[in-house]
């Protein structure tokens, strides 16, 4: 068998070995070269491996751990808000949601179609679902609809066979059992926006909400709680394999308010459909027992998003449903300011309570005539009578004597025109004007400005809460400040104790003159507010009416004798105000009522204030630890 032919070399001339196997030497050398290369290559691989595993081992071990372990935050339940007796004002309710697990269905679009035949999905839902579907892995569920009712869940369960991959789970939603009743105080929550999320990673968790108004906003941090975390071992596609470690979060604190839900409800009932606000305080410690502003709104609408039309309707409404008028509504106090002017005069010792001023129905100062509300005047009045009749001329005169600076000083001391430390956002401070303030706005302070300020008109503006605080301070002589938070997680704050509040630097006799004057307003003959008299045995109330003009009344109109504010359009009628405290001999509750464009304090506000005070006295929330049963509350007073 001839496999090779040699032409150039004569086999006979070659050594036997080379002749037998030419090229073997070359082969061996080259094979050895290959072997050296092989050893070198494998050695280089080993060296590289050593570098990876030993030199950089720690680095890669950390990377492996971060690959493996996924840390997730657990959303803490938001703290409840309860009234002073523990009745829930804001709490969490189960939110049943329908989720779709895309990997468990072969036909995602079809499943969504069949689902929407059972539970209608609107355009917004559909685009959100499509968006989430694009961004998420197939084993991460996508929410189809939340806030499912029992009926809807039953329908889904019934159709489960045709809805592969659809499952129902439960989250939480914020509920406000009393809705409009508490909306202004409790506020509402809404999904966090991008800025919120940038501030706190906790908020990026699904279902987290941010307080957007009221206590929900003011106490947001307390209510939010702290996040728990869970460390999970995940595989490459992120599916959870096992749970390694779990740290439970702290639920948000439970915030107890000073409010009495029952009293709040009664106040709202009394106000009815008037545009008004009312505040009831505990005189001794400033606890806000009721704070109502009407009209109101439904706070639960915010949890899922308010429609544009609804929002426009709210913001364009001249009755301003979204504004808490008790803290953010500013009104000229009108005659309710007179006790402060009287107090300023007493403090300044420019007037003694017995000094008399003659009221002919007007006062001429510097060529301008200032009218008393009574065309015929009140004759000669001292301070007591002036408060009782609400004689304008008397207060024009003493305001002129005392001067605006001292009036403002006393008014501020009583809480008018100054910020009150109430736990609500979006409050307004009102204004007690002074010559300095006027100057700061590049205007000259006229003597007439002081005179009209003497009856709480002109630039003077206060909030209902300030009026209630002012009344409480008159009643007790203590510098109580209104507050809404009574306890956090059951620990009652120090503000609840009357001793926390220092006495005002005002002599008792001075206070007594004012209190007596306010007593006379309600209880003496010819007082301005006989309608405010309580129909409770042994219970007497002191108060002061106020009718604040919102429009200048021309002399011609006034002298025509046909001036009747009730015939004016609603928005031009005067505001009706009333402040009061009771019981007169041992003050416990103070209240302020402002009815927007309610015409006269005596006719509109006083009866309302009486009804409110009657309920406050009957329920007597400050002396109770449990809410009174309705029947008992109506039976009679508990304090003697």
């Amino acid at each position: 068998m001839r496999l090779t032919r040699r032409k150039r070399e004569n086999p006979r001339l070659m050594p036997l070995r080379a002749q037998k196997d030419p090229g073997r030497g070359v082969f061996t050398r080259r094979a050895l070269l290959f072997m050296a290369v092989q050893v070198g290559a494998i050695g280089e691989l080993a060296h590289r491996l050593y570098g990876l595993q030993i030199n950089d081992g720690d680095h890669y071990a950390r990377m492996a751990a971060s690959n493996r372990i996924s840390k997730r935050l657990l959303a803490p339940p938001r703290g409840r808000i309860v009234d002073r007796f523990g009745l829930p004002l804001a709490s969490n309710k189960e939110n049943w949601r329908a989720l779709l697990m895309p990997e468990e269905t072969t036909d995602v679009a079809g499943t969504i179609e069949r689902f929407s035949a059972i539970i209608p999905l609107d355009e917004r839902d559909r685009s959100r679902i499509a968006r989430e579907m694009r961004h998420q892995r197939r084993f991460v569920p996508v929410m189809l609809r939340d806030f499912l009712s029992w009926d809807e869940m039953a329908r889904i369960e019934l159709n489960a066979p045709s809805l592969p991959g659809v499952l129902i789970d439960v989250g939480t939603r914020r509920v406000y059992p009393d809705g409009e009743l508490m909306a202004h105080i409790v506020g509402y929550v809404a999904p966090p926006n991008e800025q919120d999320v940038a501030h706190s990673t906790l908020l990026s968790l699904p279902g987290m909400r941010v307080g957007r108004a009221g206590i929900e906003q003011n106490q947001d941090e307390q209510l939010r709680g702290t996040a728990g975390s869970v460390e999970m071992e995940v595989n490459a596609v992120g599916r959870v394999m096992s749970e390694l470690n779990r740290v439970e979060g702290m639920p948000g604190d439970e915030v107890s308010l000073t409010l009495d839900r029952g009293l709040q409800q009664k106040v709202l009932n009394h106000i009815g459909d008037q545009t008004a606000s009312a505040v009831v305080l505990d005189c001794h410690n400033g606890e806000v027992l009721a704070m109502v502003s009407t009209p109101s709104f439904d706070p639960s609408l915010f949890d899922s998003g308010v429609s544009h039309a609804q929002w426009i309707e709210w913001t364009n409404n001249q009755h301003t449903p979204l504004i808490n008028k008790a803290v953010a509504g500013v009104y000229p106090p009108g005659s309710t300011f007179k006790p402060a002017v009287a107090m300023a005069a007493l403090q300044a010792r420019s007037v003694s309570p017995t000094d008399r001023v003659f009221c002919p129905g007007y006062l001429d100062v510097g060529g301008t005539r200032f009218h008393c509300w009574s065309r015929w005047g009140h004759g000669s009045v001292d301070m007591h009578d002036a408060l009782k009749y609400s004689c304008d001329v008397y207060f024009y005169e003493i305001a002129r004597r005392v001067g605006m600076d001292r009036i403002a000083q006393t008014a501020n001391q009583f809480g008018l025109g100054v910020p009150l430390d109430i736990e609500l956002p979006h409050t307004r401070d009102g204004l007690i004007p002074t010559p300095a303030w006027r100057k700061a706005h590049h205007h000259h302070w006229n003597g007439g400005d002081t005179i009209v300020s003497g009856i709480g008109q002109g630039f003077v503006q206060v909030t209902p809460l300030q009026l209630a605080t002012y009344t409480a301070r008159i009643a007790t002589g203590r510098a109580v400040s209104p507050h809404l938070i009574r306890a956090v997680n059951g620990t009652v704050g120090e503000k609840a104790s009357p001793d926390h509040w220092p006495a005002l630097d005002i002599p008792d006799p001075h206070l007594k003159v004012i209190r007596d004057g306010m007593f006379a307003v309600v209880n003496e003959p010819h007082g301005t507010a006989p309608k405010a008299r309580l129909d409770l045995p042994d219970m007497l109330m002191a108060g002061k009416t106020g009718s604040a003009q919102v429009r200048h009344v021309s002399r011609a109109l006034r002298e025509s004798g046909h001036f009747n504010s009730a015939s004016l359009p609603w928005e031009y009628r005067p505001h009706a105000l009333f402040i009061c405290f009771a019981p007169y001999d041992a003050p416990r509750y103070a209240a302020a009522v402002v009815i927007e464009h309610g015409n006269t304090g005596a006719e509109a506000a006083a009866p309302l204030a009486r009804d409110i005070m009657r309920d406050a006295l009957l329920r007597d929330p400050s002396n109770r630890t449990t809410p009174p049963p309705e029947s008992v509350a109506d039976a009679g007073p508990t304090i003697e």
Partner: protein
Amino acid sequence: MNRRTRFHKRLLRAEPSFRILAKLWRISWLYVLLIGALAGVGYITLYSAGGGMPYPFAMPQAIRFAIGLVLMICVALLPPRILAMAAAPVYGLSLVLLVAVLHMGHVGKGAERWLMIGGIQVQPSEFAKIALVLALAAWFSRISYARMANPLWLVPPALMVLVPVALVLKEPNLGTAVIIGGVGASLFFAAGMRLWLIGLLALPVPYALKLAYSHLHDYQRARITTFMNPESDPLGAGYNIIQSKIALGSGGMWGQGYLHGSQGQLNFLPEKQTDFIFTMIAEEWGFVGAAVVLALLLLLILGGMTMAICSRNRFGRLVALGISMNFFFYCLVNLSMVMGAIPVGGVPLPLVSYGGSAMLNVMLGFGLLLSTWVHRNSHFGENLTRPDA
């Protein structure tokens, strides 16, 4: 002449029917033991890759290894004469399969085409490597060393290399094409290609590479660019390299422990049972375990090369060298790939990675290798045949 050799010569003289026994005796059982050890590593690792269960990977692989072992020993008994005769038809068959797979093959992950023949997956590109080694060895042993000086004699074998390389590139399987080319080139070199010719041919190589790059598929280019900067696309094309390096690195010196490698067990490792199986070994057994496997591979390679050098016939030498180089390139490409030293390509780790076609082809190669060892004293092809070989 040691006792062992003397014994089997006596055996052969005693009775011709003992020839098979004698040949079995001449098989390097130490080498078979090394092969078995590597397959054992494969079994253990596949057991772990299967989540600590013999199925779906470890048991089928063991069965394939057993079949492969029988095949290997059968091939080892074939004399070089038959092997050389078979070279041409086997090579032809491999080309037919390569063409067939282009037209009716199944595609997996952009490369690795296979044919279904009788319910068995056949990867023609694996088979083509063995066929090419046989064909080149037959050709080079037919022409003498002297004729290697004439470039004309090298044109047919060059075509024998380029045709399968082109077909495999068209699949497209860059990794295997490179290995086929490398094996062919090393056979040219070992057969005695003159150095001046090599130098002449090396000149246009840079231009050829440039041209080749422009013809690469997008996914192949992506592999190259992400190889240069794997972090540029950590969840996309760079994912494999990054996760593989994390797995290797987190193994440390002693490993995370058998069945406890987090990267592999939690599926961060891509294709952990095939291409990236070495990563699992390194993760679970650490540098120590990986080094043992490297040593095992090196022993198998060097053992094969030694067999090549020891063969007294040109055909056997070239077959053994081709098979060893094939095995070496296989290991080199796979290991470099998992260590992030070269762009990723679908090349498994021989004997360890899960896969029937690769396993059978590797065992076929070892059969050829052992055949050259068994018949190392044959003077086949030298016109000086001895009756006893």
